[in-house]
Symmetry: C2
Subunit: 253 residues, 2 copies
Amino acid sequence: MPDKRTAKVISITNTKAECRDCTLRELCLPLGLSETELNAFDRLKKRQRMLRKGELLYRYGDPLKSLYAIRSGAVKTTGLMEDGRIQVTGFCLPGEMLGIDAINDDRHPCSAEALEITEVCDIPYLALEALAQEVPGLQHQLLRIMSQEIVRDEQMLMMLGRMSAEERLASCLISFSRRHARLGRNGAEFKLSMSRQDLGDYLGLALETVSRLFTRFQDEGLISVRGRHILLRSLDRLQALASGGAGGRSVHA
Amino acid sequence: MPDKRTAKVISITNTKAECRDCTLRELCLPLGLSETELNAFDRLKKRQRMLRKGELLYRYGDPLKSLYAIRSGAVKTTGLMEDGRIQVTGFCLPGEMLGIDAINDDRHPCSAEALEITEVCDIPYLALEALAQEVPGLQHQLLRIMSQEIVRDEQMLMMLGRMSAEERLASCLISFSRRHARLGRNGAEFKLSMSRQDLGDYLGLALETVSRLFTRFQDEGLISVRGRHILLRSLDRLQALASGGAGGRSVHA
DNA sequence: CGTAGCTTTGAGTGTTATCAACTCTCGTGG
DNA sequence: CCACGAGAGTTGATAACACTCAAAGCTACG
């Protein structure tokens, strides 16, 4: 996958990164920091770099050096079972953080792979923890983000444990929609950066099932699909589906 | 469920609790704190109280006041779907912590219910966060515990997303075994404090499936079951089962 | 323009859910 | 001490949802 010919084009790697100038400031780790705190945080030497599609940010077992923030693009994190089965534990979009599950024992318990050209921001962890000791707002924000990750995982547990295939895909689409909207993009129309296989490995479904569901949702007028291009046509009915509502008909709660 | 007659017996509630005297010190939040740090931590006013079977420690939506550590007994945490379906997101045994998923937005995103007589330790959260700001070891330990929770949830995702019913129950039994052993108890023999229904709601299975699996495991000589009393007869073969090994035969890796 | 990988679609199967009846256990009160 | 009842657990029959295997259609990239 590494391609020699484009290598020098990517030498934009290892630029210094400052949050004060970043458009994602208010969606990312620095959210809620005061002016002073933000300045302190920007003294932390963060690195910005670029990953090509398929490149790994870190790999299962790697020692924890940094946490990562996505600036653009998309990343999937995958856990591996002994017998080779894969579970995608999450997709990361811009403004979201990555790697906090490594704090527990200083090693990454999963691998992270870029799904497209992706800019990430390295935040050296030891320095971050030290700084959080000084800056109350930062400690709080760090704890908050970790707690949020736990909540997300628990919602995912609910999804995998108790939802039908249909409900899972509907929830997933709604989640993507919300996260796109958060970035100021159109929440009703977006391009998936992951394959059907990845979606299946995330939702606990076979890729064929995911594919069939896309066609079904389209036939029912819920969405339009062309390959990875998605248009949500009825968010209401999707939402009803996602929460176990009666077979896709919209429900007036 | 609340029973007037036993009420005054339970008035051991609201005792002050000190970690220095607690046998679980090395398994719980204070793990790894220095003598000085532990003293500082003990200045935090923690409360000890008792829950009877069925009592709720907190309920979905409650504001975050404290984190909780289990001293004895067992607790289950449950998320609820709009249509009433339940997902048990975890079981908590002594030495384990509870409530950290509430930090994200200052409300508990799930309910916590005692499965038997249970002693818990209230750790007021605001004071804890403030203290963590002063005591580096404590901040670190707090971050570590949260990260650990994320790792656990991710393993659970793998389980629900990719494992068969058989593999799920085997993993679950092994997990209980390890956690009992950690407490210095016999890891091969223990009493489940939860119903088949609870186990099903945790593993994403119907209670009937759980029941059938117990009988099957027993027939195959993997375990002995009498109601909630479990004896693990072949940890090796269970382990093989849990990791997708060939139908229960022991595998020489 | 060809090829490799991704996606769709179909047919058949299997695991697990659901529904229903029966049994066991344990706590309660007679 | 025994009888009773309720909740928990077991077992069986049936059905559905999603998986697997297989093949054909697309897309995108070189």
